[in-house]
């Protein structure tokens, strides 16, 4: 069980594709101009990651070492194409907005990296879970990024939701007079906000590390007294 917990924790935080591994940046930055775009692409990525991890874990016995990379790419590309076609068919507006970034999931380093580092070495369940968790790790970051950029950029959230659910519409969060801060929606803003997120992660990690250190010192103190007690014996 704890192995699965580890997988989840790795995907969500410790080995988070964006915050820790700094991979898969292009779709992340390019499509996080709004919350809806971000989440949509994130979900597509989850699907691809899960499916590819699943497929490769299932087929791993059949793939010779020498051509593993081309085969991985083949499989991923096929799955991405499937997702791409699905978007085109069911969420056409969104398909237009996300543009080339759906096909680019193929080269999203995370997918290949996870496949190679995890799926190719682990069982079906673990691999699928890893794909899911890594995907969720990606989604929450991209969603946060999208939300922050959208909010700062134009004071709204969920704008464009009508592309998915035609009956809904976005919220104006900040007052209408809010002049907007265009930079947040442009590439520089993407870099800035992600930079701040990473700094935030560093900060939380540093705090956690500090706590561990303190605990350890405590712990060692206990051990030392144990040692002293047992020494005469």
């Amino acid at each position: 069980m704890s192995a699965y917990k580890d997988i989840a924790w790795n995907g969500l935080w410790k080995q988070n594709t964006i915050l820790a591994q700094v991979l898969g940046l292009c779709p992340l930055l390019a499509t996080s101009t709004s919350l809806v775009n971000a989440v949509s692409l994130g979900l597509a990525t989850i699907v691809v990651m899960m499916l590819s991890n699943f497929a490769i874990s299932a087929l791993r016995a059949l793939i010779p070492y020498e051509i593993r990379i081309p085969v991985f790419i083949l499989i991923i590309a096929a799955l991405v194409t499937v997702v791409d076609l699905a978007f085109n068919a069911f969420l056409h507006d969104l398909y237009l907005v996300l543009g080339i970034f759906i096909p680019l999931i193929v080269t999203n380093c995370i997918v290949l990296a996870r496949v190679e580092a995890f799926a190719a070495k682990n069982g079906l369940r673990a691999a699928t879970l890893d794909g899911l968790m890594m995907g969720i790790g990606f989604v929450w970051v991209i969603a946060l990024l999208g939300a922050v950029r959208e909010l700062i950029g134009q004071g709204t959230l969920f704008s464009g939701i009508e592309m998915i659910f035609p009956t809904l519409s976005g919220f104006q969060i900040l007052p209408v007079e809010y002049p907007g801060f265009l930079i947040a929606m442009l590439p520089p803003g993407a870099f800035f906000v992600l930079g701040l997120l990473i700094a935030g992660r560093n900060w939380m990690d540093a705090r956690a590390n500090e706590r561990i250190r303190e605990q350890r010192i405590h712990h060692q103190g206990d051990q030392a007294t144990d040692h002293a007690n047992s020494a005469p014996a």
């Binding site: 002049p179 907007g180 801060f181 265009l182 930079i183 442009l186 520089p188 800035f192």
Partner: protein
Amino acid sequence: MNNSPYSLKPASVQSVMLRVLFALLPGLAAYVWLFGAGILVQIVLASVTALAAEAVMLKLRGKPLMMFLGDGSALVTAWLIALTFPSIAPWWLTVLGTLLAIVVAKHLYGGLGQNPFNPAMVAFALMIVAYPLLMSQWPRVGATDFAVQWEAIFGSRQVLDAVTMATPLDALRTVLRDPEQRAMIGGILGGKATFGNIGGRGWEWIAAGYFLGGLYLLQQRIITWHMPVAFLATLFAVSGAFALYEPERFAGPGFQLFTGGAMLAAFFIVTDPVSGATTPRGKLIFAAGAAVLTWIIRTFGAYPDGIAFAVLLMNIAAPLIDMYTQPPVFGHKDKRGDSP
């Protein structure tokens, strides 16, 4: 206890920065005379914001407060921001720009001396990208009514149309954008509208003020001749060549040198020691590159004045320029200055 040397020349960062502020005064005086006292309000706004932001960042980073607040560098940044922003910009624009300059461009990099980008120009570029309209509404020459300017800065902006006017660069760009209006270009380049006929519609007098201040900086040996000379000469040469080639399309050197921020840039902005190149040859390349980019962006780009972007682009290149223009070391003149 310190080590040798034990005697030091009297000099300090603070005195350097204060002299830079002093050198800005002639230009500032011309500004107030021609465009009213609104600019003073902006300077106060920017200075207060800059000092407050600096203080907060220093506190957060656990640095000694007074020593750094007193160094004056934040004030130089603040003044340059105020002088490059429209003097009737709404108050929050100046405050936001200054805040971003000090916090993002300066302190996230470690504060004074460590920032690779010119903070004032970061502020300008961020703001013109985010609020192009607000950043291109400049006061009209002679429209010095302080009450109106105050209203524009702190109150509604309804009053504006009467007192704004496109700057010469903006007018030039508008005309160039529209083939039907190309014929008007002569009028703009002639610029007989107001005082001189150098093409600045008043801006040339402010530029002259900056020039004066720049000479003072040179005399005080705070800046070296390399940057201003390279910047102005290159801008002169490039714009001159194109103006000769097709005068009805390209503005001449007089126009280019005396409009917009060219003169301010030549003496106060490209010369920022922190974010610029530092070797003698590097300085020439840096300033010449900034001039060429300025001309290109002014002439072909989407933004009316290219100085901020040109300077930032050269800031990016500065480390490499420095790296490849290391002067040879004593005794190693035959080869590049690498140690044996």
